[in-house]
């Protein structure tokens, strides 16, 4: 193993030294690529040098840099559905060239035909990456007419959720807690509003979404399964604009504009749901609502320095009456400073704070009540350097340090005026990583991306250190000792080397890509409920709970067909091999349990599958079909006879269809269909009667032994732009009419088992029943009105 690591390091070093030597006598062209209309940076815009048939792309801040031998070049700046700009550049000395691209059709109501579609999916070294732009997301018929980032992500291959109304999403057979969700670099610890029906991302504020399912580059880490990187809009730096929507569940309003033209801009977006008002007849005194605010301000000091400040604040509130209820929410803040050291060295320094908390209040008066809350707060510093070595090498070097504070439970009960405090101690940890990553074009055919991440995790004081004695496997471990640690000393340290590599090899009009990713995960989302919920608990690796470690291998073939690459197709296979995945002892108690670590065990996980995708991007009819055949399993000592068993999110078939048809210039019809194999649950086989109650019982004592029925659903939507053809309206507005679950399928949220009727009287037969609970059991129509002016 050791020699293997040395070999990797050595080969990395040798590649760098070679490329540095060859990087002599060349000249750099660099700059920012922005949208002409609003000044937003264009992430991933392509820069193509005609003469050399080579190019680069803009990074997440819209910055590009390309180093070429002196000469005159024709440079194309390209971006999907934007007019390509062609510049003739005479390179004799380093040049800064900022570009503004113009959208092909400024008219919202005209059909956009991309003159030259891009083949990024084939030519990029990236694989297992899904990108959705907000325009596509807006077309997908959505629940209650409200477009949602996470719901749209779930229409892509390899992505699913356990059931309607469950928080979060699952990627390639991974758990919800194995996804790293980033909002402007800040980790989001719970991505759901309203128990998973909506996500925390306000679509008005979102600029770019990227889901990395495999081939994760070395600049990301900390989770096993995927990275969802969401970037917010910077705000229109050209002119003030107001947009918003009025819908069935909530209303949105966003204001953006320049603070100082082309120098500084701001963005503020708010949402507030009013389902509490609609649900009033059903819920009496109860209310349920959420609100969130997403905001960003940025300032360009000069060509070489830019500052971005972004924040998110959101809350869900669920009240049974005035005193009693439940609420939860996230707060994130990110301060970033972009600095250009020179035309080839771009840097970014980010300071991030993120917190998630939930709280309960119960009790009718101050003498009898129970208050309980839990929180995770993290502080992160992330420096990163993007070095555009030469035409063939783009280097990323950076680091990351996160300080965690976990407050598992602050719980105080008052019973008849007497207070009992059952709060748990805080837990602290520090996670850090350094990485280096290089994208290297070996030839026209071969591009490589490889990197190495070195991560460490320290579980530290002050706090209690518990020692447990294993009992029989799969059962609660017994506490044998507890020691107090007072200072900030390290209790347990872990470290891991995480190599990453991707390869693209072009064959004809297609390409073959392969990748290998090793990731380590040091914090764990503990959830023992049927579906993920907001009260799931993040907990650190400790002396008892080890980090999760995952290897993923992926291989894929990408190919475009038709004129202008009108059909994009791909097949990808993946195999994931995980160690120390979190599992639970029988009857685990995860709430307010001081000895939670005694209830956590770990097992080996494996997940594998094939993803097929066909996408049609142009024409009056466009859309995609994605299908995943997959399996996700666990093997844990003491559970299910130590044999492999399916995870809670093992879904064999996952089929998604999305289509949009432009009927007229002002109307378009869209539909999406979902079919997912039912998730496994733990079901009883028998029953017995004891002390007057009938108890369901599983003879085989098998976890996840039965599948609930498959989930399938068809949604349709109609988008209609009011006004007359050819006549420009002062307000760009449109209506969306949608019906969710049009054939009213009762998709299971959960299946549960209960006794049939009252107390058992001697000699009576009392049956046990299986009940299916569906959150949505009927078609749900909705209308929303959206505007920009």
């Amino acid at each position: 193993m050791n020699s293997g690591r040395q070999l990797i390091l050595f080969s990395l070093l040798s590649i760098f030294s070679v490329t540095i030597l060859s990087a002599q006598e060349k000249i750099t062209l660099s700059g920012y690529i922005k949208n002409e209309a609003d000044g937003e940076a264009m992430i991933g815009a392509t820069v193509f040098v005609e003469e050399l048939s080579t190019g680069t792309s803009a990074n997440i801040y819209g910055f590009y840099s390309i180093t070429l031998p002196p000469g005159t070049y024709t440079i194309q700046y390209r971006y999907v559905s934007f007019s390509t700009q062609v510049k003739t550049v005479e390179l004799t000395e380093g040049q800064r060239l900022d570009i503004e691209l113009v959208t092909e059709s400024k008219q919202l109501d005209e059909i956009v035909v991309t003159s030259e579609a891009l083949d990024a999916n084939v030519s990029d070294v990236e694989m297992s990456v899904e990108k959705l732009d907000i325009k596509t997301i807006e077309k997908i018929p959505a629940f209650l007419g409200e477009v949602d980032v996470l719901k749209s992500i779930q229409l892509l291959p390899g992505v699913s959720s356990v059931g309607e109304g469950s928080s979060g999403f699952n990627v390639r057979g991974g758990s919800v807690g194995q996804n790293l969700v980033l909002l402007d670099d800040a980790p989001v610890y719970n991505s759901s509003h309203l128990f998973g029906f909506f996500s925390v991302f306000n679509p008005d504020a979102v600029k770019d979404i990227k889901l990395i399912k495999g081939g994760i580059p070395a600049n990301y880490g900390g989770r096993l399964s995927s990275i969802l990187d969401v970037r917010m809009k910077e705000g229109n730096s050209k002119e003030r604009s107001i947009s918003g929507g009025i819908g069935t569940v909530f209303s949105r309003l966003a204001v953006q504009g320049p603070l100082k033209k082309d120098k500084s801009s701001f963005f503020v977006a708010v949402r507030r749901s009013y389902i509490d008002i609609l649900a009033k007849p059903f819920t009496n005194d109860a209310t349920l609502f959420f609100y969130d605010l997403t905001t960003k301000v940025n300032y360009d000091f000069n060509d070489n320095n830019k500052l971005y400040l972004s924040g998110y604040f959101g809350r869900d509130v669920f009240r049974f009456d005035e005193r009693q209820g439940f609420d939860w929410g996230n707060v994130t803040g990110t301060l970033r400073w972009n600095h250009l050291f020179n035309d080839r060295l771009f840097s970014n320094f980010a300071f991030i704070v993120s917190s998630f908390d939930y709280g309960f209040s119960f009790g009718e008066n101050d003498l009898d009540k129970f208050d309980w809350n839990s929180r995770i707060v993290t502080y992160t510093f992330k420096p990163y350097f993007n070095y555009f070595l030469n035409t063939n090498n783009e280097l990323l070097i950076g680091g990351e340090a996160t300080y965690y504070k976990f407050r598992p439970a602050e719980a105080v009960g008052v019973s008849d005026g007497q207070v009992s405090d059952i709060s748990l101690d805080n837990k602290f940890a520090l996670e850090s990583a350094v990485y280096v990553d290089n994208t290297q074009k070996l030839s026209d055919k071969i591009t490589l991306r490889y990197g190495l991440r070195f991560s460490t995790f320290q579980y530290m004081g002050p706090g209690n250190v518990y020692e447990f004695q294993p009992t029989s496997p799969g059962e609660r471990k017994e506490l044998i000792a507890a020691n107090q640690v007072n200072g900030r000393e390290s209790i347990k340290t872990y470290y891991n080397l995480e190599p990453r590599a991707s390869l693209r090899y072009k064959i004809g009009n297609g390409s073959v890509k392969a990748s290998y990713t090793r990731t380590a995960q040091y914090i764990h989302l503990v959830s023992n409920t049927a579906a993920p919920t907001p009260i799931d608990l993040w907990t650190p690796s400790t002396n008892n709970v080890e980090p999760q470690l995952g290897d993923q291998y992926a291989l894929g073939y990408f190919r475009n067909f038709g004129g202008g690459n009108s059909f994009e197709t791909s097949i990808e296979g993946y195999y994931r091999d995980n160690k120390k995945q979190v599992e639970y002892v029988r009857g685990a108690d995860i709430f307010i349990n001081e000895y939670l670590e005694g209830d956590l065990i770990n097992g080996d996980g494996r997940a594998y599958g094939v993803e097929f995708s066909i996408k049609k991007n142009v024409g009056n009819l466009n859309g995609w079909i994605s299908y995943t055949l997959g399996r996700s399993e666990l093997k844990t000592d003491g559970i299910n006879n130590n044999e492999w068993y399916p995870t809670r999110y093992d879904q064999t078939h996952n089929l998604k269809l999305f289509g949009e048809y432009q009927i007229t210039k002002r109307t378009s019809l869209s539909a999406n269909f979902t079919y997912i194999t039912g998730a496994p649950i733990t079901a009883p086989t028998s029953r017995f009667t004891i002390q007057g109650v009938t108890i369901p019982y599983d003879y085989f004592n098998q976890r996840n032994n039965l599948r609930i029925p498959a989930t399938h659903r068809l949604d349709i939507g109609l988008k209609w732009l009011p006004g007359k053809p050819g006549k420009e309206r002062r307000v760009n507005d449109y209506f969306v009419f949608s019906v969710y679950n049009i054939y009213g399928n009762k998709n299971p949220f959960s299946i549960f088992f209960s006794q049939d009727q009252g107390r058992v009287i001697m000699g009576d037969q009392v049956n046990t029943l299986a009940n299916q609970f569906s959150i949505i059991g009927a078609p749900v129509p909705a209308i929303s009105y959206n505007f920009v002016f």
Binding site: S686, Y697, F753, S754
Partner: protein, 276 residues
């Protein structure tokens, strides 16, 4: 307390639907179920022995009438006899041949033999704290809108909880000698985490009318008993809500492959009548 929270939270959020479904569950072999109690009251102690049935089976749990049952405290062994009276309602019930009272501090071991298989279980008998008193108050909400006419008296319960020991309790409430429950699947039990030293008027289940008698029985249970009742209530109150955990077979203190629980308890009881 936690159960209470989770039960409330499980309320459906949106217009939802719930229906009974028929699942394709495996057929299995029956399992022996043992349910026994040794209390500190001087009487014929009982043990019930039966067999489980399939989830969707017709009929009740099958009584086992040919078992050999005995309980020992290490020095004395008590033999049990099947349905001595005999009463068809008591099929599967075994009573100790002689009357005896369990003693605090002793550990009782049960042995049950059925068709050549032997099952054993043991539980320790812990002390229980005394009930100081009971009172009745008029529950304002019930008084205004009684669920049953005249039933608006609520029984409150007072006791001292020793704070230096970790204790577990099981409660049973009776109205005129009939067990009462707020919901048919309730079991009332507690650890002492949230009980203060002075238990000052904790409300009990159900409501009473003028002239009714109310009785509280308080049992000491072991940690194993607490876990067992906790597992039972998890299964009984499973409602498929967002906060429901997957079903887990109730943990048992019976060894040898049978299920159920053999419990040793001290019992105190107090009775009060609703009067003007």
């Amino acid at each position: 307390m936690k159960r209470y929270i989770i039960a409330i939270l499980a309320m459906a959020v949106l217009a939802s639907c719930e229906e009974t479904v028929q699942l394709d569950l495996k057929e299995t072999e029956p399992v022996v179920i043992i349910d026994g109690l040794v209390s500190d009251q001087f009487k014929n102690q009982y043990v019930k022995v039966s067999r489980s049935v399939d989830f969707y089976a017709e009929g009740t749990s099958k009584a086992i009438t040919n078992a050999t049952v005995s309980v020992t405290d290490g020095t004395t062994t008590y033999n049990y006899i099947h349905n001595p009276t005999p009463d068809p309602e008591n099929d599967g019930l075994y009573f100790s041949e002689v009357r005896f009272a369990g003693e605090v501090g002793k550990t009782y071991e049960l042995t049950v033999q059925v068709d050549g298989a032997t099952y054993t279980a043991e539980d320790s008998l812990y002390p229980v704290t005394a009930i100081d008193s009971l009172t009745f108050i008029i529950n304002d909400d019930e008084f205004e809108e009684p669920e049953r006419e005249g039933y608006y008296y609520e029984m409150l319960f007072y006791a001292h909880e020793p704070q230096e020991t970790e204790d577990f309790y099981l409660f049973k409430f009776y109205r005129n000698d009939t067990l009462v429950l707020d919901s048919p699947t309730d079991i009332y039990f507690s650890n002492d985490d949230l009980l203060a030293e002075e238990i000052n008027g904790i409300p009990t289940a159900s409501f009473y009318k003028m002239g009714d008698t109310g009785t509280v029985e308080m049992y000491s249970i072991s940690n194993a008993g607490f876990i067992y009742y906790n597992d039972l209530i998890n299964l009984l109150q499973s409602d498929g809500g967002m906060f429901g955990s997957p079903p887990v077979n109730p943990r048992t203190n019976v060894k040898g492959g049978a299920l159920g629980f053999f419990q040793a308890s001290s019992v105190v009881s107090e009775t009060i009548k609703v009067e003007e």
